[in-house]
């Protein structure tokens, strides 16, 4: 569909139609509408600054007790909005993060931005299947290493920390950690892209950063320090280790809601 504000209501109507077809309860349907509207609005406002023929594709697939929603544009790519006037909320992504079970933002081949979100088709947490725990909250981003990486990582980490109930101080540690990761050399990441998976593991946040080139993870850990601040991952995190994955090396980081007491 055309990337126009008047089409946002059409997306919600299409989701209502899907809900009629596959019996989506009221609460997850409302969440899906919120996610789709916020993601499409981001594309309408930011993806095509110099064009009026931009396109947005919205796909929603219901299967296995959840809906996967994918919103894709072919615009200028994910760019965090610069701070603007008072009253500007920048609430689009935090709103999405607050209502989804998992989401990811990618810069797909061919350009633009793709947001994928999953919402479980139960009315609320109490309706989760009795034969297993609720799906873990998780988020993932993959972004070209460079100037845009720092604000993107910091924002996603802040959202995850907020959702996990982190204290304000600890949330600041998480944002600093994002800055440290973004300050690393792009050469150490495989294909020059910073990838971070964030999951809630118990009360903590678990980050998997990578994949790195062979030896890149250790090199980055050795060099990771926020310029001029002496802040390193090891000082901020509760656990840091290098793990081997199928795609290469990853740095596994765990951060607790409260900072550990040091003697």
């Amino acid at each position: 569909m055309a990337a126009k504000a008047e089409n946002l209501a059409l997306v919600r109507q299409a989701l209502s139609g899907l809900a009629d077809g596959v019996s989506i309860p009221e609460r997850p349907l409302a969440d899906l509408k919120q996610i789709a509207t916020e993601a499409c609005m981001n594309a309408v406002v930011h993806a095509y600054p110099d064009r009026d023929d931009g396109r947005i594709d919205v796909h929603a697939i219901a299967a296995n007790g959840e809906v996967e929603l994918r919103v894709r544009d072919w615009g200028v790519g994910f760019r965090p909005r610069p701070a603007s006037g008072e009253g500007s909320l920048h609430l689009g992504l935090p709103l999405i993060a607050s209502v989804v079970d998992s989401f990811s933002i990618e810069s797909p081949e061919g350009g633009g931005t793709a947001l994928t979100a999953r919402v479980r088709l139960t009315e609320d947490e109490d309706d989760a299947p009795a034969d297993g725990p609720p799906a873990p909250k998780e988020a993932a981003i993959a972004i070209d290493a460079g100037v845009a990486a720092k604000p993107v990582i910091a924002r996603v980490l802040a959202i995850a920390a907020t959702r996990a109930g982190f204290s304000l101080d600890r949330m600041s540690d998480g944002v600093l950690m994002g800055d440290v990761i973004a300050a690393g050399s792009a050469d150490d990441f495989a294909e020059g892209r910073v990838g971070i998976d964030i999951q809630e593991c118990g009360p903590n946040l678990c980050l998997s950063v990578g994949p790195f080139q062979p030896g890149g993870a250790k090199r980055m850990l050795d060099q990771m320090e926020l310029p001029g601040m002496g802040v390193s991952i090891a000082k901020l995190a509760d656990r840091v280790e290098i793990v081997e994955g199928d795609e290469g090396e990853f740095i596994s980081i765990e951060i607790a809601p409260e900072a550990a007491q040091t003697a």
Partner: protein
């Protein structure tokens, strides 16, 4: 369910203007919402934004509500938001964004009117 978003102004007495949003509101209806709010600015009356009949609002509408609160403060006008529990999707958005406490939001229009009646301007 109201799909098309509508905005109208009502008088809440001699000293109060009410902007009522019903149906769905997003970036597409944002100009009308802002226009209705701005049209009350000359009245120098207290302002209530009533979201009780709204079935959907996105973050652009929340931004307009926050701007209205800021401008009311700057002009020395009392300000309140009303949103009944029945407007569940809207109520939920206000809660997950923290605005339910920040604004604050009253459970219905009567409660908002009552709050403004005792609020200093």
């Amino acid at each position: 369910m109201d799909v098309v978003g509508e905005v109208r102004r009502e008088a809440g007495g001699d000293d109060i203007e009410i902007v009522v949003l019903s149906g769905e509101h997003d970036l597409g209806t944002l100009p009308q919402v802002r226009e209705a709010i701005e049209a009350t600015a000359d009245e120098e009356k207290a302002l209530i934004i009533d979201l009780s009949s709204a079935t959907f609002v996105d973050s652009s509408i929340l931004g307009a509500v926050l701007d209205a609160r800021r401008e009311s403060r700057e002009a020395g006008r009392a300000f309140a938001v009303a949103c009944e529990d029945a407007a569940e999707p809207v109520r939920r958005v206000l809660e997950v964004t923290g605005l339910a406490e920040e604004l604050p939001v009253h459970p219905n229009r009567d409660a908002a009117l009552e709050a403004l009646a005792v609020a200093p301007t």
